[in-house]
């Protein structure tokens, strides 16, 4: 008897959970009436950000799992150029070719750094990944009245900013900058090759699950904050704050940061501000948002030391701001 129970334990637990879940589907819970309507708005925005982000996050953690199990330190050493400049340029180009979203990229970056990719190269990849890809180019092109110049500037200037920030990181930071708690034993080489493929594939999936749970709390917290900002912070007060040419750049960057929009969807929002703010400020919004935002900062904080995260934030913010000021006259 005991043995039968034991061998079927997985099935029993699984069945039990499945049954409980179906019960939830049939149950009609509704506490919508007792809550203030602003909270209902907040919740709708919150859930929608999560539904939008989950596919990208899941694909991100799966890729992270693949890197963890199938890519070895030797591969990385062979692929990444020894020269710092070459490594940075390569990482930014790979990021530009890689269609990522800012929610999915943090776990990938973390895995790459753990596998020995230099930190500066990983940051270059992280910055261009969400910003430069076909979907973003297309949506920007459409949102600005089928005008290619904004989309062009967004990609070009964004690429330059990413290169610069990657160089800054390479000057100021050594090592992997992981949080203390995560630092132990990650350079011990693995002898995965001996294990059969199915075993490795299974490890890849369990690894992805752990990665998901590491990221999820920060993603969810960030999404909630972003939704709260949208529900309670009037854009009007922001709009009034940004009437000078410099303050309007800062305001638009601040807005991009707190709204935490997906890079594939922010172009239409950006274009709706096109008349209230001068074009350079809107461009700052479009370049800064995909590179780093509230949701993304929280996810980075789950991996890297706070000092490093805020330095990257500072580097990105200042280079975006200064480069926009520089090119202002051409726009």
């Amino acid at each position: 008897m005991n043995r039968i129970v034991r061998t079927n334990l997985f099935d029993i637990t699984g069945l039990f959970l499945l049954a409980a879940a179906f019960l939830l589907l049939t149950l009609k819970l509704d506490v919508g009436d007792v809550l203030p309507s602003s909270f209902l708005n907040l919740n709708t925005i919150f859930i929608s950000i999560l539904i939008e982000a989950f596919p990208f996050v899941l694909i991100g953690v799966l890729i992270a799992g693949v890197i963890q199990i199938f890519v070895t330190e030797e591969h990385i050493q062979r692929w990444i150029p020894q020269s710092r400049t070459k490594a940075i340029i390569m990482s930014c180009v790979v990021g530009a070719l890689f269609p990522a979203c800012e929610c999915g990229i943090v776990p990938i970056v973390r895995r790459l750094v753990a596998k020995g990719v230099p930190l500066y190269a990983a940051i270059g990849f992280m910055l261009t990944g969400p910003l430069i890809n076909p979907i973003v180019i297309a949506s920007t092109y459409m949102a600005f009245g089928n005008n290619a110049s904004i989309a062009g500037w967004r990609m070009g200037l964004g690429f330059a900013v990413a290169l610069l920030v990657a160089f800054l990181v390479s000057f100021f930071f050594r090592g992997h900058q992981f949080k203390q708690a995560l630092m132990s034993t990650q350079t011990i080489p693995t002898n995965r090759k001996k294990e059969p493929f199915t075993q490795r594939f299974f490890s890849m999936l369990t690894h992805s699950i752990d990665e998901f749970f590491d990221m999820a709390k920060f993603l969810i917290f960030g999404a909630f904050l972003a939704a709260a900002v949208q529900t309670y912070m009037p854009a009007k007060s922001l709009l009034e704050a940004g009437d000078g040419p410099f303050s309007s750049i800062a305001v638009m960057m601040g807005l991009a940061y707190v709204l935490s929009l997906c890079s594939e969807a922010d172009a239409f929002i950006g274009s709706s501000f096109n008349s209230i703010f001068p074009t350079p400020s809107v461009l700052a919004f479009l370049i800064f948002g995909p590179m780093i935002d509230l949701k993304n900062t929280l996810m980075m904080l789950s991996v890297f030391r706070a000092k490093f995260v805020f330095s990257v934030l500072f580097f990105v913010a200042t280079t975006v701001f200064l480069s926009i000021v520089l090119v202002q006259s051409f726009l």
């Binding site: 959970l17 990650q186 999404a223 969807a265």
Partner: protein, 304 residues
Amino acid sequence: MVFQTQQAVRAAILLLFTVLIFKFHYTGEITMFINPKYIGLSQIASVLFLILFFIQITRIWEKKTHHHHHDHECSHNHDCDHNHDHGNTPITLKKVISYVIIAFPLVTGFTIPAKVLDSSIAEKKGGMAVITGKSETSSTDETAQEELVQPSDTEEVLPNPYGEITQEEMNSLVQKLKQSDPINMDDYVYYLNYEEISKDVASYKGREITLKGFVYKEEGFQSDQLVISRFLITHCVADASIIGFLTQFDEAATLDKDTWVEATGVLDVTTYNGTEMPFIKITDWKTIEQPSEPYLFPLNVKIL
């Protein structure tokens, strides 16, 4: 065989996310959250959650507890390349908090119904500042290629709702708008028409227009003015932006915010806070039920 509470909690969370997304699809609530164009993507998420759940349940009953302290030896089938939590370490308050955070959207997702965004959000998103703003945007646009389209093309059937349309199809839609009087602001072409009209208000002056939307009012409106507005969703409701037409009719004062109306009127030009913008003198209107698809989605033009 030892029951691993944390692994079980993780399995349950993965399954509940699967079910939550499935529920939104099943009830059709999903379009209250995201642009239907991305439905496929969220279904993929649901399936991935389910797969991860089936992987995760195998970890609920471990043969023995092994507190995986990272500094100890790397025996058995565990590689030591890890630098994160496996869910095998003892439960601490910090962990409880993180599971509570992760469970939070599950609780609100299952118990609080999706709400259609209302005028309070429209106000937070900038309201009239954004609507008047639209009229000033890019009037430098290309008009040259639109002339190429033959008028005979304009009677074609609308292309599939959420797919991409070609540049020619879009041009013919614009051409159709230019010739139509009355103009019907159908959901499918609403945003396209809205942009075209905003770009060149003067040439549409005097035409009859029919539209629907919810009532939005702001400080500074006269008592007979209101905006008939809609939300445009690119990807998810977090990126909703408000669009709409300023209208004028005597009974406007009696209508509350967020009431849905269908109205017919004559397009005119007005100046609001120093900006020229379209304006509709309403001739006929009625209140309607909120449509089942309250949001608008931009057309996707193929560019490659």
